[in-house]
């Protein structure tokens, strides 16, 4: 899977010293920016968007509950048992069933956009559903999120 294709292109915000603390999505580095005749492209016009969560949005969770096998998503209390047994999570750190369920519950769209390409790695093996203490059926929820994330 050609997942992280930003390695190829020059990394944004390379002048920022504490670079690894800043996610790529929050850096806006204009190729060309002209301010009153002054060329402020690249580093000079770079801004970093805030990461403060301003609002919560629960419309997504209603959609998930309508999708097949997504109806128990609200039972999840973020204990992380699903991620602990998930074979994919051990190999791909960005694949985390608990975290997917949480960002959908709270409606953190920016996180969803960032991680949505990883949700397709779910193998449907059902180990997470087996381990889940609240019978959320996370493997079914992952199916629902595969569908939902295609729309977000």
């Amino acid at each position: 899977m050609t997942e992280n294709n930003n390695e190829k292109e020059e990394r944004k915000g390379k002048y920022i010293i504490e670079r690894e603390y800043v996610e790529d999505e929050r850096i806006i580095e204009p190729e060309k920016l002209d301010i009153g005749g002054v060329d402020a492209s690249g580093r000079w016009g770079l801004i970093v968007l805030p990461r403060v969560i301003k609002d919560f949005d629960h419309s997504l969770i209603d959609e998930v509950k309508k999708l097949p096998r997504g109806k128990h998503i609200e039972r999840c209390w973020q204990c992380g048992l699903c991620t602990s047994v998930c074979p994919v999570a051990h190999k791909e750190p960005n694949f985390n069933p608990r975290y997917f369920i949480y960002i959908v519950k709270m409606g953190y769209k920016s996180e969803i956009k960032k991680l949505k390409k990883y949700v397709y790695l779910c193998q449907g093996c059902g180990l997470c559903s087996e381990a889940c203490p609240k019978h959320v059926d996370p493997s079914g929820v992952m199916m629902a999120l595969n569908i939902l994330f295609d729309k977000v």
């Binding site: 504490e18 204009p30 920016l33 301010i35 801004i47």
Partner: protein, 433 residues
């Protein structure tokens, strides 16, 4: 685990045995305890020790005596602080003269209007606090020596130092604590000052110009020419003025009920403008000192998204007023790039002295020099009914004349009553034999 702690210090291996580690730790604790400050007891203990040192004649204490016509204010620690109002020695700021000259020319103009004698001394050196806080150059002894050198020059001119920049003010408060509490630093600094024929003179009160504006706010309000009652003002208090040695800054029970520092907010209220509050008033302006040098991009974004945008969204204020060099510069200049990116929120950022001078009818460009500020101040002046268009044309004409060689317009301080101390005897500056 082995009891050796080895540190690589510019690729030279230093290893400390367990005992050394404990000793090293003990030293740090001791030093911290000795210089521990920040609590009110330490602050008051420092003031007592200052008086003892004066009795033992180890230092000269520059008192705020009657000729300075002091006024009293309450500080956060509850102690009453004397603020001199006349015969002031202007301790200028490099950032203000460099980036926003209108900042102090407004202050001088106000003092001329109120007929307050002061000394605009050319023999003042920069306080070097910016590079100390910013890039970590200099050390506690060097920076204290610079502090005391300036104080001695003021003492010599028999004028009481009035500090313009918040960083100098914060830095001098900390240096005063060092020089009073630590004999070692005091002796080292005295040796340095001896080399330039100066002695240790410590001002009894360290006064920031915003505190002077605070105590003079009613006289200023009397001379108000423009109605500012419909102007919504948001105030940003500078970290270095009220967060460095926070016990030593002016608080007033009937200004923001004593929870927040009184200066700047008090003069805005005295002038009759509407003071608006916003959610993250406590946050830094984005300057952050080392932060702006090393992480310019994040500093710019912080200033805009954390201060400017919320202020405009929450309060729709007409102007953002602050009382420090770094804050005005950062908050004003950081709006340029986000606006170029298409964000709409913008607000003019000026100092409290400029706002007071504008209200008193000062020339927006000759005196307040608003053209150094980037964020658009036009609708602020329109709302204050100041005809900035004709003032701008007048300023243009003035510039043309200057080019043709005319004499520049200068702010002449009113005549002084106190005589400077003449320095012919080496031994003692008080004029006694």
């Amino acid at each position: 685990m082995d009891n050796k702690l080895s540190i690589n210090f510019n690729d030279e291996e230093i290893s400390l045995t367990k005992e050394d580690q404990k000793l090293f730790q003990k030293l740090i604790e001791e030093r911290k305890a000795k210089l521990a400050k920040g609590t009110i007891e330490d602050y008051l203990r420092m003031l007592e020790k200052m008086k003892e040192l004066e009795k033992k004649e180890e230092i000269i204490l520059h008192h705020v005596h009657e000729e300075y016509q002091p006024r009293l204010v309450k500080t956060l620690s509850g102690r009453i602080k004397k603020i001199p109002t006349v015969e002031l020695w202007q301790h200028k700021s490099c950032g203000q003269c460099g980036h926003i000259p209108g900042y102090i020319s407004s202050l001088y103009w106000i003092m001329n209007e109120l007929n307050i004698p002061y000394v605009d001394d050319t023999n003042q050196t920069s306080c070097t606090a910016w590079n100390y806080y910013g890039s970590g150059t200099s050390n506690s002894i060097a920076i204290t020596a610079v502090f005391l050198r300036n104080m001695h020059v003021a003492y010599e001119k028999n004028a009481y130092p009035l500090i313009h920049c918040g960083t100098s003010f914060g830095d001098y408060k900390e240096c005063r604590y060092l020089v009073v509490m630590s004999d070692e630093i005091r002796n080292k600094v005295r040796a340095i000052l001896k080399k330039i024929d100066r002695d240790i003179v410590i001002p009894e009160e360290l006064v920031h110009y915003s505190e002077w504006l605070h105590v003079m706010r009613y006289e200023i309000a009397e001379r108000k020419k423009f109605n500012v009652s419909n102007i919504k003002v948001a105030v940003h208090a500078a970290c270095h003025t009220y967060k460095l040695m926070s016990e030593d800054y002016t608080y007033d029970d009937n200004i923001l009920n004593g929870i927040r520092p009184a200066p700047t907010s008090s003069i805005v209220l005295a002038l009759g403008a509407k003071l608006v509050d916003y959610s993250n008033w406590y946050d830094c302006c984005g300057f952050g000192f080392r932060h702006i040098l090393t992480e310019r991009e994040i500093s710019r974004s912080f200033a805009y998204f954390r201060k400017i945008k919320p202020i405009v969204e929450e309060t729709q204020a007409d102007v953002l007023i602050t009382h420090d060099t770094g804050c005005v510069t950062t908050l004003d200049k950081s709006q340029v790039v986000p606006l170029a990116h298409g964000y709409k929120e913008t607000i003019p950022v000026i100092a409290d002295s400029q706002f007071a001078a504008l209200a008193m009818g000062a020339h927006p460009f000759r005196i307040c020099q608003l053209h150094w500020h980037i964020a658009d101040w036009k609708n602020l002046l329109n709302k204050m009914e100041i005809d900035w268009q004709s003032a701008w044309d007048d300023y243009k004409k003035y510039i043309e004349e200057l080019k043709k060689g005319a004499k520049p317009f200068l702010l002449i301080p009113p005549p002084r009553k106190l005589q400077p101390r003449i320095r012919d005897e080496r031994k003692n500056l008080n004029g006694e034999e």
